[in-house]
């Protein structure tokens, strides 16, 4: 997740980018919730540094560019913390947005490739 204002990250933006939803009971992904009292602020933003610490997410900073990158969580020690499929924003050949969740009800064999 790219961040240009560390204090202005909305709860929704954090949830969309990381898959971890800041709820009153903690930071939740599927059936997994990690307690993080105070991380969810009343003004709709999240304490990114606290959430990062609780979820084992690295926060990398480029001071010259004034930008941060928040890495993935490490709580499970694996890439997946749940078997619920993530639903990242992707595009098709025409540049139109596409969500894997639009294929709900069908089996999906998701094959990764690259031009390199």
């Amino acid at each position: 997740m790219i961040i240009t204002d560390l204090e202005g990250v909305s709860i929704d933006a954090f949830a969309e980018a990381t898959g971890w939803d800041p709820k009153p009971q903690g930071l939740c992904r599927g059936e997994v919730c990690v307690p993080a009292p105070g991380a969810r602020r009343d003004d709709g933003t999240i304490d990114v540094a606290m959430a990062a610490e609780r979820l084992g997410m690295p926060l990398v900073h480029d001071p010259e560019a004034r930008v941060w990158a928040l890495g993935p969580g490490t709580t499970s020690g694996r890439v997946l913390s749940t078997a619920i499929a993530p639903d990242p924003p992707l595009i098709d050949r025409a540049g139109e947005p596409f969500r894997l969740s639009s294929l709900h009800g069908r089996k999906v064999l998701l094959v990764a490739w690259a031009s390199y």
């Binding site: 990398v60 990158a69 596409f98 009800g105 089996k107 999906v108 990764a112």
Partner: protein, 222 residues
């Protein structure tokens, strides 16, 4: 089937997609976010998702037909470095027949397929992620952002860090190498994977450091 290209620049994928003329969704991941979320650390890899949106098989190497490169005769009159590269390519494990059969079994039997795994096993079998791998992901993402906003030189420093932190992530390396060695405006990406003058690394050097082609892919555990 759904394909997703882990490519920063969509235009690099178009010639391949157009040539394939796919009838399935053919997607592009310009931020390598599927790598982060599903564990695609090399290509080709695949993961299986059932009708309920649950992953039933973690990301693993996903060839479904044997590459002709595995069976080529290595010419004797080519440079030694190329001979070494081809030798290691031939050593990459090939599970295409078994993996194809496993897919067909799942398509037919669904949850009853022995290749469809329960959630706990899917999580346990997914790629390891410790502090270094997570930081590598953040560094690579920062590099992608800077490539787009500040230019290549700003990106390189973060991509070098990403490569150092997670040497097993081949998409991070191959994306960066290719951007260095492909001339601007070229019709297709350069695939030599030789950007040693910039990154101090290259495909063949890193494969050899890893232990050879036999250890290059995440072998499917069938």
């Amino acid at each position: 089937m759904v394909t997703v290209a882990l490519d920063m620049f969509p235009e690099h994928t178009h010639r391949w997609i157009d040539a394939a003329a796919p009838t399935h969704p053919s997607l592009i991941d310009t931020r390598h976010v599927t790598g982060e979320l599903f564990g695609f650390i090399n290509i080709p890899m695949a993961t299986w998702i059932d009708e309920e949106g649950t992953i039933v098989r973690n990301a693993e190497s996903a060839s479904i037909e044997r590459s002709p490169l595995r069976d080529i005769e290595i010419p004797t009159d080519i440079p030694d470095r190329l001979k070494t590269t081809l030798t290691e390519v031939k050593a990459i494990p090939d599970h295409s027949t078994e993996y194809r059969a496993a897919i067909l079994d799942w398509v037919e039997l669904g949850a009853a397929s022995r290749f469809a795994l329960p959630p706990d096993e899917v999580v346990a079998r997914s790629q390891p992620r410790g502090a270094d791998q997570a930081r590598a992901t953040a560094c690579f993402e920062l590099g992608q952002h800077l490539e787009r906003t500040a230019g290549r030189e700003a990106a390189r420093a973060w991509w070098r860090k990403a490569h150092e932190l997670d040497r097993s992530n081949w998409t991070y390396k191959r994306q960066a190498w290719t951007l260095e060695t492909t001339p601007e405006g070229a019709d297709a990406n350069d695939l030599t994977q030789e950007a040693g003058d910039v990154y101090g690394t290259s495909w063949i050097d890193d494969v050899l450091a890893l232990g050879g082609g036999a250890r290059y892919v995440v072998e499917p555990d069938l």
